[in-house]
């Protein structure tokens, strides 16, 4: 009757389904000083929180695109979170938000293709867009791409304004399904803690499940 027990070697090891997340972060001149320092701290905390959660760490794949100076910059490409080195962002220059979102969407598309080619299942990608100002480039095309994907439920957008001068109406153009939220003060740490919990919730979801995201814990303004 020993053969009535299955052995591990007789089973398949499938790769964990992934949640690709692209952080699109403002590092324009106006973010100088405390805002960029707090943002950097928040990003560090986000990565650490994910690493501490076994399920989220196996599922989450994070990339970072920053926008400042004249053009967006790929700060961190998708990869295993255990091996990723978190970049330190420095503030300067303009706010090329449209080009940054285009870069982020291109990176997400490429990542999805890689998953498809290697037989890795994946959840709906996330794009977190954070700015303290208004775009200095044309956002029309990027907003249109983002909107189409969000409406087709192929992308979840989290638009976040930082401080009183963040242009929430510009952020809204990228996110037809979720209204922009304004960060309360410089509560980046609370926001990223909430984001890591949300990633954890999604990475444990099953077909047909509506995923209730955790309460914000006070990072947003009412």
């Amino acid at each position: 009757m020993d053969d009535l027990f299955l052995q591990h070697k007789e089973l398949i090891e499938n790769p964990t389904a992934r949640v690709p997340i692209c952080l699109v972060l403002d590092r324009s001149g106006s973010m100088s000083g405390e805002p960029i320092a707090e943002l950097n701290k928040g990003v560090q905390l986000f990565i650490q929180s994910i690493r501490r959660d076994d399920i989220a760490a196996a599922a989450a794949e994070i990339a970072i695109v920053s926008f400042g100076d004249e053009a967006p910059r790929k700060e961190l490409d998708f990869g295993s979170i255990e091996r990723q080195k978190v970049p330190y962002l420095t503030a300067s220059g303009l706010t090329p938000m449209g080009a940054a979102v285009n870069m982020a969407l291109d990176m997400l598309e490429l990542r999805k293709k890689m998953y498809q080619q290697t037989g890795v299942d994946y959840y709906q990608p996330w794009m977190v867009l954070m700015t303290d100002g208004a775009p200095t480039d044309d956002i029309t095309q990027a907003a249109e791409r983002s909107t189409q994907l969000a409406l087709a439920r192929k992308l979840t957008v989290f638009p976040i304004g930082i401080g009183p001068h963040a242009d929430l109406s510009a952020l809204k153009q990228f996110s037809p399904r979720r209204d922009p939220a304004r960060l309360k003060g410089l509560n980046f740490s609370l926001f990223f803690e909430w984001l890591s919990k949300s990633v954890s919730a999604v990475s444990q979801s099953t077909p047909g499940e509506r995923i209730p995201l955790p309460k914000t814990g006070g990072w947003d303004e009412l």
Partner: protein
Amino acid sequence: MISEWKAVSAHVMGRSHMKKQLPCQDHTFHITQNDVTAIVLADGAGSCPRSHEGAEIATTHCAYLLTHSFTDMIEKGDRELAQMILSEIKNQFPIDENEKDPVESMKQFASTLLFVAVRDDTYLAGHLGDGLIAYQEGEECKILSYPQNHEFINTTFFTTSLDALEHFQFYRGSVQQIHGFMLMSDGSAESLYSRKDQSLATAVNKMMGWLEKYPTDVVQEALMQNLKSMLREKTMDDCSLAMMKKLRTNEEIV
């Protein structure tokens, strides 16, 4: 030629539902009646609070239909057959006639649906949603129907989906060369199906062999124990399996 078939099925609550103290949303059913042997499996939709009831209704009523109307069903076209099965299931959902939004209420009972039924030397199989149907030909286990997900892992088709008729897949044929069938939910497929190679684990063949070697009650218990101790450990999801095996034909008996 008349075949004799043995069937077993089992479902266990996954680690996620244990943690959240929610019911098991997978349900399985097997039956032999009116010369038809049928195995049926349904996986309730994650966030629908009554999908465990929906899964149970789907399995039992689909099995009832198969054992009572096999001849009629085998001759129907795919769309007509899908309509027949889905109507039978949806008519059983306990929805108040005065419900303000019956379509929305119906969604609470959403589940996937997989089945195989055999009578004489003919089989009929159906598949809506994720999970997988395997069959055994000679000593080899092969895939009859692959998981149907949308682009993303946490999306699939359910009995209550608006496009369910379009996505309900059917298979018909002879069992002369086929010795067994297995249904698995997506939770079990996590351990038994390689998404990269689209191939089956060797465990599938091994489990099919149990029905040949041991009495049904022993296999039933073994299935339950292995779902609990092995398959459930590799996923957060509920796990379920149903399988049937051809023992011998009347020619062999003679």
